[in-house]
C-alpha cells in the first residue's frame, strides 16, 4: 500500500449567499449554495516523493491539503496516510506532519523565535537532546543563527519564511505540506529554500507535497505534478511530459534592414514596432526549414528565437482545460 492513498475524495462546502432580489427581507432570507470544492479525486503517493500540486485559484488545492492533514472531513471518499485516516484521529495523525502555510505564521510574534521553537519541542514531545541536535542542523542549513534570539516581528520576510520552515521541520515529520513557501521571497532566498528542501527530501526521505503558483519552484523541485481544476484532478504525472505536451508554439522575432516580402514567410506574422514576430509550430514546420526562408525574405539585421516560458504554458493549459 502506498504512503498516501486517496480514493474518490470529495468535499462540498455550503455557502450562504444574500438573495439577489428583495429589500428588507434580505435581513432574514439567505440562499444556500453548495460549492463542490473537490470531486472524486483519487491518487497515491509513495514515501519520499516530491509532488507538486498546481491549478488556478479555487481549484481545490488547499482543500486537498486540508483533507490530507485532517483539518477537514470529506463529504465522500476515503484516504489513508501511512495507514491512518487523517480526520478520524487528528491528534495522532498531525503528530507526524509538518506544514508551512505561506502568508501565515505559526511562530509567536512578540517572543524570540527560539522560544517558539521550545514550545514546538514540548508540543511534539521531542527529547531535549534530539531537539537540540535537530535545531542546530536546521539553524545551520537555513542560516538562522544570527536572529535566533530576535522576536519574529523584527525579521524580514525571507528570514521569517526560513524560521517558519525550521519550526515545521523540528519534529522531523514524515510528510511535509508546503503551501506557497516561496511567496514574496527574493531570488536568492528562493534558490536557497529550494536547495534546502531538496536536501531535506534526499537526506531524510521526507515526503513533500508542494502547492505553488511559482512554476520555477515546480521545475526545480517536483518531478511529478498533479493539476487540479474546478475541484477535479485533471493530470497526474511527470512534469516534463506535461510541459512538452503544451510547448508547441515558438516565436521568432526578426528585424529586417528593409521591408521584406511578407507573403513569402510561412508562419503567422504580426508587427511589433519595426520587428516582425513569427509564430509557428515546430512540429509542423521545423525551425531548420523556416530559417532559410526567413533569410531569403530580406536582409536580416537581428533575430531572436523564443520558446514559451512555463507560465505561458500553464496559462495555455488552463485555457485548454477550460478552467
Amino acid at each position: 500500500m502506498a504512503f498516501i492513498e486517496a480514493q474518490s475524495l470529495s468535499k462540498t462546502y455550503t455557502r450562504h449567499n444574500a438573495p439577489k432580489s428583495g429589500g428588507i427581507s434580505r435581513l432574514w432570507r439567505r440562499e444556500i449554495q453548495q460549492i463542490q470544492a473537490l470531486t472524486d479525486a483519487s491518487f497515491s503517493i509513495e514515501r519520499g516523493e516530491l509532488v507538486g500540486l498546481i491549478g488556478p485559484n479555487g481549484a481545490g488545492k488547499s482543500t486537498t491539503v486540508k483533507l490530507l492533514t485532517g483539518i477537514l472531513t470529506p463529504t465522500g471518499g476515503e484516504c489513508r496516510v501511512n495507514g491512518r485516516t487523517p480526520w478520524e484521529n487528528r491528534r495522532e495523525h498531525v503528530r507526524h506532519l509538518g506544514a508551512v502555510f505561506g502568508q501565515r505564521t505559526q511562530l509567536w510574534w512578540d517572543v524570540p523565535i527560539r522560544d517558539s521553537f521550545l514550545l514546538l519541542r514540548d508540543i511534539y514531545d521531542i527529547d531535549h537532546a534530539v531537539w537540540q541536535k535537530r535545531l542546530d542542523a536546521l539553524v545551520e542549513a537555513l542560516e538562522l543563527g544570527e536572529f535566533l534570539n530576535a522576536p519574529l516581528r523584527q525579521l524580514s520576510l525571507g528570514q521569517r519564511m526560513r524560521a517558519e520552515l525550521c519550526g515545521s521541520l523540528l519534529h522531523a515529520p514524515e510528510l511535509l505540506f508546503l503551501d506557497e513557501p516561496t511567496i514574496g521571497l527574493d531570488a536568492v532566498s528562493k534558490l536557497k529554500l529550494r536547495a534546502f528542501l531538496k536536501e531535506e527530501n534526499r537526506r531524510n526521505g521526507t515526503t513533500i507535497l508542494l502547492t505553488t503558483h511559482d512554476m520555477e519552484d515546480m521545475l526545480a523541485l517536483c518531478s511529478r505534478v498533479m493539476v487540479l481544476g474546478r475541484g477535479r484532478l485533471l493530470y497526474d504525472g511527470a512534469l516534463d511530459a506535461l510541459l512538452r505536451q503544451y510547448d508547441t508554439v515558438h516565436t521568432l522575432r526578426v528585424v529586417f534592414e528593409e521591408a521584406p516580402e511578407i507573403a513569402a514567410l510561412p508562419a503567422h506574422v504580426t508587427r511589433d514596432g519595426d520587428a516582425y514576430v513569427l509564430t509557428y509550430e515546430p512540429a509542423k514546420m521545423p525551425t531548420s526549414e523556416l530559417l532559410p526562408q526567413v533569410l531569403s525574405a530580406g536582409r536580416v539585421r537581428e533575430m531572436t528565437l523564443k520558446e514559451q516560458n512555463v507560465d505561458e504554458l500553464i496559462a495555455r493549459m488552463y485555457k485548454e482545460m477550460a478552467l
Binding site: 486540508k66 505564521t105 505559526q106 517572543v111 514540548d122 508540543i123
Partner: protein
Amino acid sequence: MNMNARLRSLRPYMTVFRLRALMETQYRAAALGGLVTQVFFGLVYIFLYTALYAGNSPEMLRDTITYVWLQQMFFRMMFSSDGELTNLIMSGGVAYMLVRPVDQHRFWVCRDVGGRLVGAMMRLIPMLAVQFILPRELRIGLPDGWLSLAQFGLSLLIGCVCLCELMSILDAINMKTLDKRGVSAILNLTMMTFSGNVIPLTLFPDGLQTLIRYQPFAQALDAPIRMYQSCAALPEWALTVAVQLVWIVILRWIGRSMWQRRLDNMTVQGG
C-alpha cells in the same frame, strides 16, 4: 499512564503558559498606561463612596475602599483579551493551530491563564507602590492577617482558572461568529456588574447576597476579596473554594463541548 508520562504530556500546556507570561512582560508601556487608568478610576470610585457615606459607618467605607483597590489592581486579570484566537481564524492561521497534536481547549485556557496572571502582576506591583504615596484615608486596607492573605492568594489562582474557562466559552462563540465585538460588549457589561467592578458585590442587598456570591462571575475576584477582608473559618473557606471548583468543572464541560463542535465544523478560510 505512569506519573512521568503524565507529567510529560502536560509539558506543552506548562510551556504555553510560560511563553504567554513571558510575552506579557514585553508590554511594559501598556502596563504603565494601565497603571495610570486604574489608579485614576480607583480614586474616582473612592471619592464617590466617601461622599456617599458622608462620614457615616467609617468601617464600611474602609472595606469598600479596599474592595475598590483590589478590583482595580486585578483589572487586567478580569478584562483582558489579546484576540489572538479570532485573529488566527480571520487570517487563516488557524490551520497551523489545527495541525498541532494538543488538546486545543486546554492549550488555550493555559495560555490565557498565563497572560492574565502575569498581566495582573505587572500592574499590581506598581499599584501597591502607589499606595504608599496616597493619604492614609484613601489607601487600601491590610488583609485580615497572614492566613487571610494566603487564602486570598490561593483562591485568586483558582478564580483565574475559573475565569479563563468562562472566557473559553466566549472564544467558542467567537469561532462561530468570527467577530468578537458583539458578544464581548454584552459579556463585558455583565461581567463588570456581576464581578463587582462597578459596585462591590458586598454592597448588593442582603437578600440577594447568596445569589450574587455563588454566580460564576463572582468566583474570579469577589470570592478572593472576601477572604482578604475577613479571614474565613475552615468550613466557610472550604465552601467558597468548593463553589469555585464546581464552577470550573461546569464551565469547562460547557467550554470543551463547544470547542469540540467548533473545531469539528471549522472551515479554514481562503488560500
